[in-house]
Subunit: 260 residues, 2 copies
DNA sequence: GCCTAGGTCCCGTGC
DNA sequence: GCACGGGGCCTAGGC
């Protein structure tokens, strides 16, 4: 930990923030504040105690005591302005594109902390839509017995077909994969099916493959003569071991701090 | 600030976390850790220094040194498990629905902080899509002269129509409003128009109302016989004063701390 | 409780 | 650089 100051006054705050906000440090400020935002929308947040975090890449988060999401934020800050006044510490964070500004006015500072986090590890994750595509290609019978995958990401004038296949009777099958299917998914599948039917002048099957489905979307699908096949995400998600194999043997954590 | 401990050992960590995680406190733990997640997907995050925040409603965030978004998280935790072991401090956060678990293994603790934030102010915001709906309802001529709004959020088998209206010639008009229109928006509008045409066996107009538009989406829209009308967000966003008027005169900040 | 749709979405990928 | 689509999306609003 570089620095922690409890109950700093506004001039302490101005000094520390001016020094560290623009640099490669994680800075926290907590205290009673109000926040205005203007940009793609406009918001006001009245006085309350919050935790403000400036990350090492300049991302700014204003977190209240609850919820996953920050109350205000700035994914990337281009210009900082810090000013101690008689009755407040003003912190402005401006972003250029889109042009937006977050203004935080602290009436009272509870603490101020400067640290530096070293983390070069990437998140390895399985269970994305792309992993379902791969499972189908490896083992098409999770969709249907005797299905043969012809092509992935087949391009049509209506967009890319996730998986293009033929069934045991030789029919063309268009497969659309979605983790979270909705009405638009149905129309998208419909468009691909229409496109392939035009191309081959044949009847074409359309199958939506997803780990879950709602009754209404299923109705909408079946009204159009399209089909649904469920998949188990557990079958799709690789084991921890498999994820492990994609990593290097040793962690690339490196304790050398980069200052600035 | 309730507590701050620098470089706590694992048994300190276990003690403090066991006491405070389940209660109405904001708890921060920072240090060298690795994180596993399993639930809707499965992920591994190798060792690195991170800031872990448990909010007062049990939301859990694992923030790396960069980016707006946490590397791992749990929007709501139902069960906590904390265990100091010889070489690590293990923190498990389980959620019941969906069933998922985040496991954080600390190899080294940099600091541990317990605070309590008091914030009962709501965020006042203007510029959401709903504000455009309201502008249209108040003054339909921003879309078209002599347009009459019939209904908002009209339900159809294909979903909800933002604004349902009739034009000067008595035609039905389906209006879809979007801040950020894209291809899917066109499909969505198409869905509604098709549904209303089926329902009334009439030709129905479809208008996409948005503050911006791209050439490709416009082409895609017009190919389908659908229309676009631009609106200015500035006309939609209320002034700060208007936002102010929606607030009570006095802040409802109350310095009484609720312990538990 | 499920379902629908928006978000200052953010963010990666492909053109 | 923009644009498109996914996300462990999250979250609010209806029913």
């Amino acid at each position: 930990m570089e620095k922690i100051i409890k109950n700093p006054d506004f001039s302490d705050g101005e000094e520390i923030l001016s020094e560290y906000l623009r640099r490669n440090f994680t800075v926290q400020v907590s205290g009673l504040c109000s926040v205005n935002y203007q940009g793609r929308a406009k918001s006001k947040l009245d006085r309350g105690e919050r935790l403000v975090i400036k990350k090492q890449d300049s991302a700014l988060l204003v977190h209240g005591p609850e919820n996953y999401q920050p109350k205000n934020w700035q994914p990337e800050v281009d210009e900082w302005e810090v000013k101690a006044q008689e009755d407040e510490l003003l912190l402005k964070a401006r972003r250029k594109d889109p042009d937006e500004i977050v203004e935080i006015r602290f009436e009272d500072l509870e603490f101020l902390m400067v640290t530096q986090l070293v983390d070069s590890s990437d998140l390895k994750i399985r269970g994305h839509e792309i992993d379902i595509h791969e499972s189908i290609e490896e083992d098409p019978k999770i969709v249907e017995e005797e299905l043969k995958v012809v092509e992935r990401e087949r391009e049509t004038p209506a967009g890319f077909i996730d998986v293009f296949a033929r069934d045991s009777e030789g029919n063309y099958v268009v497969i659309e994969v979605k983790r979270n299917p909705d009405y638009n998914t149905v129309l998208q599948l419909q468009r691909y099916v229409d496109e392939i039917e035009d191309e081959f002048s044949l009847n074409v099957r359309g199958i939506l493959v997803a780990p879950k489905m709602t009754d209404k979307v299923l109705d909408y699908l079946e009204e159009r003569g399209l089909e649904f096949v469920g998949v188990e995400m557990e079958d799709v998600i690789a084991s921890y071991e498999t994820i492990d194999n994609s990593q290097k043997g040793l962690s690339d954590f490196n304790p050398d701090y980069e200052v600035d």
